[in-house]
Each structure stands twice: as structure tokens, then as C-alpha cells.
Symmetry: C2
Subunit: 145 residues, 2 copies
């Protein structure tokens, strides 16, 4: 049996996360100690591993409840995962649009600034450093297109 603190160590999750999962009914402790402490079993650890796996896949906690709650209902599981993938694709598209918009904004600001402050050496130095950093960001944002 593990205390909540030990389970934090094993799983890498925070105490409040595990408390939250208890509140949702996702991961109830196997039992309580005489002093009402939460105690978790090996099965708890296995279940929490599954939960973390789905979490890394972007599945909502409500859907994870479905996935781990009902044993082996293949079609429903597939539906949930495909719906999650769809939502992730939507999210990715939204973020990409935002990246494009903000990159254009930054570019146009930089262009006008360079014209305005052409005479200031110190400003140029900072600007050069910034442009270097920025070039890195743009590569990072658009390298997968």
C-alpha cells in the first residue's frame, strides 16, 4: 500500500491532481487507514498508469472515465479516441492560424522600427539579438509546413 505522497513519487503527478481524480471518481484509493489516510494498491498504480497514458494522448478526464471504467468495449473506445483526434486536429489548426497572424504582426513592427531608428547603434545591437531569437522562433513555428 502506498500513501498519496508515495503515489505522487511513482506517477510524477501532484498531490492536488490525485485528490482531484479521487473527487471525480477516476481513481479512488483502494482503502483508507485508521487515521483516514488514502492508501493505494498495486492495482491503483496500474490504473493510474492507464489514466496517464490517455492523458498524454489528450483525452478528457470524462472520456478517460469511460475508457477505464467499462472493461473492453472496443467500438466505444475507438469512437472516443477518434473524436479526441478530431478535436486535437481542430486545436492544432487554431494554433497554426494564431502563429501566422502574430508572426505577420511582429514582422511588420520590426520593419517599421528598423526604418524609424536607423541611426541608433545601441538599438541596432539589441535588434540584431532579437532578430536572431525571432528567426529561431519562426523556424520552430514553420519548420513542419
Amino acid at each position: 500500500m502506498y500513501t498519496i505522497h508515495e503515489l505522487c513519487g511513482i506517477s510524477g503527478l501532484s498531490r492536488s491532481t490525485i485528490l482531484y481524480y479521487d473527487g471525480l471518481g477516476l481513481l479512488k484509493p483502494a482503502q483508507r487507514s485508521t487515521s483516514n489516510y488514502r492508501l493505494y494498491s498495486e492495482d491503483s498504480v496500474t490504473l493510474l498508469e492507464k489514466i496517464c497514458l490517455y492523458r498524454e494522448a489528450g483525452v478528457s478526464l470524462a472520456d478517460i472515465g469511460q475508457l477505464v471504467g467499462t472493461p473492453d468495449n472496443g467500438d466505444l473506445n475507438l469512437d472516443i479516441l477518434e473524436r479526441t483526434l478530431y478535436q486535437l486536429n481542430q486545436q492544432a489548426q487554431k494554433v497554426k492560424n494564431k502563429q501566422r497572424v502574430i508572426i505577420d504582426m511582429i514582422k511588420s513592427i520590426k520593419d517599421t522600427k528598423i526604418d524609424d531608428d536607423a541611426e541608433c547603434e545601441k538599438y541596432y545591437a539589441r535588434q540584431a539579438r532579437r532578430i536572431a531569437l525571432f528567426a529561431f522562433d519562426i523556424r520552430d513555428a514553420s519548420s513542419h509546413e
Copy 2:
């Protein structure tokens, strides 16, 4: 002067969004009518357009407050936008990781399922449709890599 309903029509935002911006102090009405109705001016519309622009770039409302509140403080503006770009890049990376994890999950489920139910015609039909849809999703998720 525009009522809140008219401003909704002009901006495409919901009433509750505009109320929320009022609460934050982002977009206060130009004045109130005798019956305490919010009234917005042409300047309000211009300001709201700016707010929407930054919103589409993924800037947080707190940062938008900084950007539109202080007039023309170039360097600070650039800092905010670059920080936002950095956060967007982080977000994009997280979503991509989740996409990869869940695509692998779906693939492995599909593979085992096809073996298990090889004899069932009706199941195959549904599966074929699913795989077609899924192939679309995967292209969508990985076409930019």
C-alpha cells in the same frame, strides 16, 4: 452610438463576451443611456477591432489590455508579441505530441481488431468506412511535417 446588440452585430462577438470585456475594463461603453443601457461610439468600434485582431493572434486579454492601454510603447509591445509567439509554439508542440500518441493508440487498436473479427462481414464494412475517415484525419494531422 450603438447598443450592445448592434455592437455584437458589427463585431461578431457575443453579448456575454462584450459584457466580460466591460467587466475587465478592456472595453468600457462610451456612455450610458438614461435607462442605463451601454452605448458605444465609433471609437469603441475601432478599439474593439484592435482587440479582436490581437485575440486572433492568441494574445491573452490581460496582455491585450497592455497593448491597447498604453499608446505606442514599441518595445513593450514587441516583447508581449514575442512572448505570445513563444507560448503558441509551446502549445503547438504539446498538441503535436498528443496527436502522435493518440494516432499510435488508434492504429494498434485497429490492427488487433481486424485480426479478431476477420470473419464478420458487417464489421468489415464499418471498419472500411472508419479507416477511410481515419486516413483523412492522419493526413490532416501529419501533412505539415
